[in-house]
């Protein structure tokens, strides 16, 4: 991608740049609650990008990515709790490695399975992880969950007293997710994944090692999702198996990518930036009496997208964005 100063003078260049600058300065003036919403928006965009790599590009519909998420979360918290190991190592390195190993096992066992069978098998694996962590309460604290040991303000232990550092990390994660997805999309692997998604037999006939391509995609997705789990643990300070290994979370990863635009770089970003605020505000207005209402909205959107616009809202957003750019360049002339 060639970036020159010139390219920022046209709307196509300066609009994204402006967005980015606004994003960078938001923590300075946004109240805490809204900052929290932003953090969840950025964070879910990141884990949505992770799901998108295996679910969107490769077309392998995983309903069990929470398995990887939970490994990152528990890796971070338990290793700090027992051995005082920093979550950078406990969560990202060790939890991430565990996630990759799990992804290798999953791939070995499940890539031969077609559509619904693959989805169900990943669902089963996610649930097995959840039940296992529930069951082994001596080590994992079971259903009670476990709290992140308090370390104050510490980069080493990935804990901060204010929201701003979390915000910037979440922003960096989202940009990382977007970057990795973009790189994959443009590479040979990306082309292979799309080919496999559309016609695996034809792809193999022209030399594509589909098992290896899918495995790489799943392992990348697993590792990134585990990083997401570590971040989540360090941000919320409390994890339990029913949430971090939960089917609801797995579905939400997929939902964000699908509603936004499956198999595109911007899709999960759009999905997250739409769904998370919708959820927060639904919950805020309808309050605690009607918990779960936002999920009705989620489910409804999923149904609507699948039925009427399977390629996701990016179709409209793209058009809207083009129109906006036209408007700006028109204004200048």
């Amino acid at each position: 991608m060639k970036i020159s100063v010139k390219s920022f003078t046209s709307p196509k260049g300066y609009v994204p740049l402006t967005f980015l600058i606004v994003l960078l300065f938001l923590p300075l003036f946004l109240p805490t609650y809204f900052l929290h919403v932003m953090i969840t928006m950025l964070f879910f965009a990141f884990v949505g990008e992770a799901w998108n790599i295996i679910g969107g590009y490769a077309g392998q519909l995983s309903l069990g990515n929470a398995a990887f998420f939970g490994l990152g979360a528990y890796g971070a918290v338990l290793l700090t709790h027992y051995y005082n190991i920093s979550p950078w190592i406990g969560g990202i390195l060790i939890g991430g490695a565990a996630a990759i190993v799990l992804s290798l096992i999953t791939g070995l066992a499940c890539f031969r399975l077609s559509g619904p069978y693959f989805a169900i098998s990943t669902l089963a694996i996610g649930e097995v992880m959840r039940l296992f962590f529930l069951n082994q309460r001596k080590i994992t604290f079971g259903a009670e969950g476990v709290t992140v040991p308090y370390k104050g303000n510490s980069l080493l232990y990935l804990q901060f007293l204010s929201k701003a550092p979390y915000y910037y990390i979440a922003l960096a994660l989202m940009l990382l997710g977007m970057y990795i997805t973009w790189k994959i999309e443009k590479s040979r692997l990306g082309h292979y994944l799309v080919a496999i998604n559309q016609n695996q037999d034809a792809a193999e006939a022209v030399g594509v090692n589909s098992v290896r391509a899918k495995q790489i995609a799943l392992s990348v997705s697993a590792f990134l999702t585990a990083i997401g789990g570590t971040f989540y643990a360090q941000y919320i300070y409390f994890i339990d198996p029913d949430f971090v290994f939960g089917l609801g979370l797995s579905i939400e990863f997929a939902l964000i990518a699908i509603v936004g635009g499956v198999g595109t770089v911007m899709g999960p970003v759009i999905g997250s930036f739409l769904l998370r605020p919708a959820m927060e505000f639904t919950n805020a207005f309808l309050g605690a009496t009607y918990m779960g209402v936002h999920l009705i909205v989620y489910g409804g959107l999923l149904i609507a997208v699948v039925m009427f616009k399977p390629e996701g809202l990016i179709g409209w957003m793209g058009g809207l964005y083009e129109w906006f750019l036209e408007l700006l360049s028109g204004k200048e002339n």
């Binding site: 309903l63 399975l113 499956v262 918990m291 999920l295 409804g300 999923l302 149904i303 699948v306």
Partner: protein
Amino acid sequence: MFDITTLTQAIVSGILMGAIYSLVSLGLTIIFGVVRIVNFAHGEFLMIGMYATYFLWARARIDPLIAILITGPLLFLIGAGIYKSLLRRVAAASDFSKIFLTVGISLVLQNIALLIFTANYWSVKTSYEKMVLSLWGISISYPRLIGFLGAVILSFLISLFLFRTDLGKAMRAVAQNREVAMLMGINPDRVYIIAVGLGSAVAGMTGTIIMPYFYVFPLVGVDFIVMCFAVAITGGLGNIKGTLLCGPIFGIAESLGILFIGADSGMIVTFLILILVLIFRPSGLLGEGRL
């Protein structure tokens, strides 16, 4: 430590529960066999059946055994309605659409239930709920026994329907070869509606049967859907005989798991068997079926 009586008790409990699993999975397998859609919302149809049974009992004092005559048609209409309005659009589309449409429906139904009924656990009380049958040292609670009998009778009636009636045969024809069925004058779309309606009705009626000994809450379907997948896939998706066979197998496996490993392990045993089946014989013990 585990004498023959305890073992037999576990196996008997497993068979009693297994018939229930067979029945509810039958609904899933019928829908897949005819329409080739894996209904991720199947557990929610069971849940609706349970709630309907609860309210028929709580408001109108209708005994669950009679309520079945209402919940069956009710769920049939709901299932058929969902097919006509939503599923029909994706019946010929990609796996992606089929999977996530039913996942979306599941989400919506679960949370509407949560919204309307709250997260509380409700149950019905029957005149026979405390009665226990004692046979050779084994005790069987009446509700479970009646549930078992109900499941067996319903499974039998449905098999009769599918294999002996014209409509049932039409369904199987469409499941086996849609084009030829059309040439024979069968309207596949109508058959699809009936298949989804029937599958949903089966799930709903199962809900009614188990109300006397199960609590209903918005997420009760989630536990059952996993078992449905396990039973239906192990038997062979779309394979009626396979599904009927595997219900008791999983019931017994779950029972024995609880007996030998521990209280929480029922689900884990189920999952592990499912994962093993998916790895080594994804088409199921008796093979994928066309009813």
